[in-house]
Symmetry: C2
Subunit: 253 residues, 2 copies
DNA sequence: GAGGCGGTTTGATTTCGATCAAACAAGCGC
DNA sequence: GCGCTTGTTTGATCGAAATCAAACCGCCTC
């Protein structure tokens, strides 16, 4: 269970993210996945559709990495060696403008794959990636997976599905940014988090509110105000716990 | 050259877009591509990487369609039978909110492919598509191309490259929307339209300003004001003609 | 050349969310 | 449980762009 059982350490190019305040070099160990991690990985969308032989190939190519909260996984412009699949925790993908302001492009949680678009594109990462909390990731070498995809249609089909999904999700994001106000975005997010066909629900946010704010393209203050605007629609917030009294009222926002 | 030489008409499901004020049923003819159209198509990114046999297969699957300005190609929620590649003209992909307000998600010009993500996803279109001017498109049957991609790695690789490109472009769009002001977006657009390594340039917009506004997520008025804000950076606008005196000044915006 | 039409610009106003600052709450380590 | 750190809320203000309205302009038709 505990990754520390294995003494195999390996220096990586992510020096920036690998140091903690304590001065101890942390994680960035490259290991085969343990069985718990494999169990998670095989259930992710990108793996679930693979046949047995393709699945084995991909599992063989996967290594496990841990990052601590706020570690930088990679930066925009760096040469892209790997893409990733989140096993636990959350990762922020974001851009910087030239004043240093950040904007989140996507928040990746368990089961999400990111940077896999570089399998078929230029050699550099196109955005920054940072651990939003302690995370465990499956890492895949881009060149090797590219080769595997050429051999195995299952793999390339899985990648295409993943790309197509991300594309639609990202297009949704553009449309939502351009069409919806802050309370509407929050309402929409809550509705997608509700079990289908329920009239009321109670949700626990899977991450910090500031991360949700970034995901929705809002400042944290704006998210907070959006929540309080939703009180009149029967939404009660206490910490990460959110009570939705009337799902239909939320849909009217 | 003239498509009208051929009398083959065919009723399609796009009844909405097929009628003109004159009462004459227009276009929506499904034809093999003529040689001029083929020449354009084979140079598009999605076709250019194909080997000879894959190229032949795809050309065999392509039909040509014309739409007039403002015709609706398809609507969100409709069953998706085809995806498209633009041969000439421009197409808007957009979403509606429940008040009926529209937001553009993407503007597709010559060489651009759209809705190809549905090859690997649900059966319905996820946004609306409208001809922004008279357009000629290559239409591909989704089911047939899906089958062809299973057979031919060239084809599936080309689709993946297209998907990966759109994904990155769309992520850029999210980041730009969230990080850049109106003048910055316009400056960025102009810079991408300039020939590389030039100190000054003169550009002709390929489409109406109102379309550019939508592409940049702005109201037409906001685009107009952004242009006038760029005057101090040496940008002169007369109709569709744009004179950029100092490319480097634009980069500082 | 006169009109008409669609697109663009300009002006005035409003709205929404960002930003700054400060109060507040909640964990968490000790 | 205490105190610090970090995240969240609240308030006040500012700024950017949307909206509404009207003027303007270029282009096409007749």
């Amino acid at each position: 269970m505990d990754r520390a059982r294995d003494g195999q350490f390996q220096a990586t190019h992510q020096a920036a993210g690998g140091r903690r305040a304590s001065g101890v070099m942390t994680v960035n160990k490259l290991l085969r996945l343990n069985s718990r991690e494999k169990n998670i990985l095989v259930k992710t969308p990108i793996m679930a559709s693979l046949g047995p032989s393709a699945l084995t190939k991909m599992l063989d190519l996967a290594t496990a990495v841990n990052y601590e909260s706020r570690d930088i996984l990679f930066r925009e412009g760096e040469e892209a060696e790997s893409f990733y699949c989140v096993l636990s925790g959350y990762v922020r993908l974001y851009r910087l403008n030239k004043d240093g302001r950040e904007a989140d492009i996507r928040i990746c949680g368990p089961g999400d794959t990111f940077a896999e678009c570089l399998l078929y594109l230029g050699p550099n990462y196109r955005y920054n990636a940072q651990a939003a909390e302690n995370v465990t990731l499956a890492r895949f070498d881009i060149a090797r997976v590219r080769a595997a995809a050429e051999q195995d249609v299952d793999i390339s089909r899985a990648i295409m599905q993943s790309l197509a999904n991300h594309l639609l999700t990202t297009m949704d994001c553009v449309a939502n940014d351009r069409l919806q106000t802050a309370p509407q975005r929050v309402a929409h997010f809550l509705l997608t988090s509700c079990p289908k066909e329920s009239t009321s629900a109670s949700i626990r946010l899977p991450f910090q509110k500031s991360l949700l704010a970034g995901k929705l393209g809002l400042a944290p203050e704006a998210l907070s105000r959006a929540f309080s605007a939703l009180r009149r629609a029967g939404v009660t917030v206490r910490g990460r716990l959110i009570q939705i009294n009337d799902v239909n009222a939320l849909k009217q926002i």
